[in-house]
């Protein structure tokens, strides 16, 4: 009886497990493996030939243009995360501690999450129409007399990209910070006050450390998403705004060097995974310290 039951159980396990397992092996494990293999191939007409050589990696690490693009991408992604944090933290703090009506809290929370449901492309596009030479900002500044002629300083530069990417990815910053702040028991903050700490000291020594896991998670998400973006740079970035994903996309398009593109994608993958692992470790460290 027990034997028959455990056999049935095992069959059931197998039936539950096999579709997702098969899918992940076929469409996740296999492509990532092939990506690694491909990065050692050589580009040759019409596309690439099998090989095992480090030429693609050597090119990436010796040609300074790749390092420049990587640094620029990291800088922009860092600025985006910072700006998003500066906007998101007060907002999340207000939601968690200052709003007393649950209905209002839900509405304000949804107000931040809702734009995620609106096309990403259109959200980036609307900034192009706002910042352009004939755009809203220019015509507004001219009609108020601040500018006498349209200025091209707003669009096609890194500032435009930072603003656009912050706009697109800010929900990913608000969500984890709010989740972390919401978990802080209000009596901890009151206890700190009762024990004679001022509001600023309480904020710096209680609230911020306890919110840190959320801040780190939000920073990681925003950074990684901006790091891999290749749409906004084309729409609002201009010549000095190309990011690493654009260079990768170009290898699979006009530049037609798939092996080099694969190697670049792997470099990007390692960076992103490194950041995620570091933030994971940090979060676990924080949890261990708290408990």
């Amino acid at each position: 009886m027990t034997l028959a039951l455990s056999k049935r159980n095992r069959l059931r396990q197998f039936l539950v497990l096999s579709p997702p397992l098969l899918w992940t092996v076929l469409f996740m494990f296999a492509p990532y493996t092939i990506l690694v293999v491909y990065s050692f191939w050589r580009a040759q007409f019409p596309l690439a030939v099998p090989d095992f050589q480090f030429g693609n990696y050597i090119e990436i690490f010796t040609d300074p243009q790749y390092a420049r693009v990587l640094l620029r991408t990291a800088k922009i992604a860092g600025l985006v995360s910072l700006l998003a944090l500066l906007l998101a933290f007060p907002y999340a703090y207000f939601l968690a501690f200052k709003v007393r009506k649950p209905g209002l809290r839900l509405t304000l929370y949804m107000a931040v999450v809702a734009p995620l449901w609106v096309s990403y492309l259109l959200r980036a596009y609307t900034w192009k129409t706002i910042l352009g030479t004939e755009g809203l900002l220019n015509s507004f500044l001219m009609s108020t007399g601040i500018l006498s002629e349209p200025s091209s300083v707003f669009l096609y530069n890194q500032t435009a990209m930072v603003v656009t990417l912050t706009y697109v990815f800010i929900p990913f910053m608000v969500m984890p910070i709010y989740a972390a702040l919401e978990k802080i028991p209000p009596n901890l903050i009151e206890a700190s006050g009762d024990l004679g700490e001022g509001a600023i000291a309480t904020f710096a020594r209680i609230t911020v450390p306890l919110a840190m896991p959320g801040i780190v998670a939000g920073f990681t998400m925003t950074f990684c998403l901006s790091f891999g973006d290749f749409i906004s740079p084309i729409l609002v970035g201009g010549p000095d705004g190309l990011m690493i994903a654009n260079v990768i996309a170009a290898q699979f398009g006009a530049a037609l060097n798939w092996p080099l593109g694969s190697a670049l994608a792997l470099v990007m993958l390692v960076i992103v995974l490194g950041i995620i692992t570091a933030s994971d470790r940090f979060e676990r460290l924080g949890q261990a310290r708290l408990s």
Binding site: L21, T24, F27, I34, M110, R123
Partner: protein, 282 residues
């Protein structure tokens, strides 16, 4: 820590009644901070919608007049209508696929133990943080090697894979809150595995499955990085908009945008209503 929590509520009650009179400087500061974020989020969307009614071709202020012409142009744009159809096809198929794979995956992660489980979890959840471009190009190389022709179907496979992480995280979170005793009781009462799943487990995780499905649908409808690399000659709506944008900006794009905003708003309201757990479900 727990001792602290249990002893404090009485004090909390006293303190919250004797709240200090709010300084209005502070409220002004908060108002400004919240207002800035909300304006930052919604002025661009308002601009997008507003300019879809602009009489002039250019997108500058002040608007010259109001018109519905751009919507009329849309109705006659066959390429656009075909792209919308393609997007519905892709989003529907990839949502169904990703639910069919993602719900069992979440079940397996929550209820089963098997060798390689942690590697499986890492692999499934990877795309949520991974730039879409990596999923896109790695699948492109795979399809190229196997000799698949790129089409809407390859896009569907790509979307289903990229969205798997969304479904798994949402359903897994719900499963964790679901007591196992329900399923044990069901088994004790003689139900077999399938009956237990369809009559006990699924009704209890229904809201998360629907929520994940709606979210997957929207994300797929809107997806660019994966579609960019995996599509053949057919365009999805975002790809069509993308190619139009590169030719020039017209209020016609704004009109498409306004319709998408309206459509998304309906979906958001729908998901909020559907995802609200019934009081007893927690």
């Amino acid at each position: 820590m727990t001792a602290l929590e249990t002893s404090v509520p009485a004090i909390t009650a006293v303190r919250s009644t004797s709240r200090k009179p709010r300084r209005w400087g502070a409220s002004l500061g908060w108002g400004l901070a919240i207002g800035t974020v909300l304006a930052f989020l919604y002025v661009p969307i308002a601009v997008l919608v507003l300019f879809s009614f602009n009489t002039s071709r250019s997108l500058s202020w002040p608007m010259e007049g109001l018109t519905l012409d751009w919507y009329r142009t849309l109705a006659g744009n066959e390429q656009l209508i075909e792209a919308v159809g393609n997007s519905f096809y892709v989003a529907t198929c990839s949502t169904i696929l990703t639910l069919l794979i993602g719900v069992p995956a979440a079940l397996a992660l929550d209820r089963l133990s098997f060798p390689g489980k942690s590697a499986f979890r890492k692999l499934v959840l990877l795309p949520i943080a991974l730039p879409g471009i990596i999923t896109g190009i790695s699948m492109l190389i795979l399809f190229r090697m196997v000799g698949f022709t790129l089409s809407l179907e390859t896009v569907i496979i790509g979307h289903a894979t990229a969205l798997l992480a969304v479904v798994v995280t949402q359903v897994y979170a719900r499963l964790q809150r679901l007591p196992r005793s329900y399923e044990e009781a069901s088994a004790d009462l003689g139900a077999n595995g399938l009956q237990t799943f369809f009559l006990v487990t699924l009704p209890n995780i229904r809201s998360s499955v629907i929520g994940a499905g709606l979210l997957s649908f929207t994300l797929s409808f809107d997806e660019i990085p994966v579609t960019f690399f995996l599509t053949g000659r057919d365009n999805t709506l975002p790809m069509y908009i993308w190619s139009t944008m590169r030719r020039g900006l017209t209020p016609e794009i704004n009109a498409v945008g306004a319709l998408i905003v309206a459509f998304s708003a309906v979906l958001i309201v729908l998901s909020v209503i559907l995802m609200r757990d019934k009081p007893g479900a927690r």
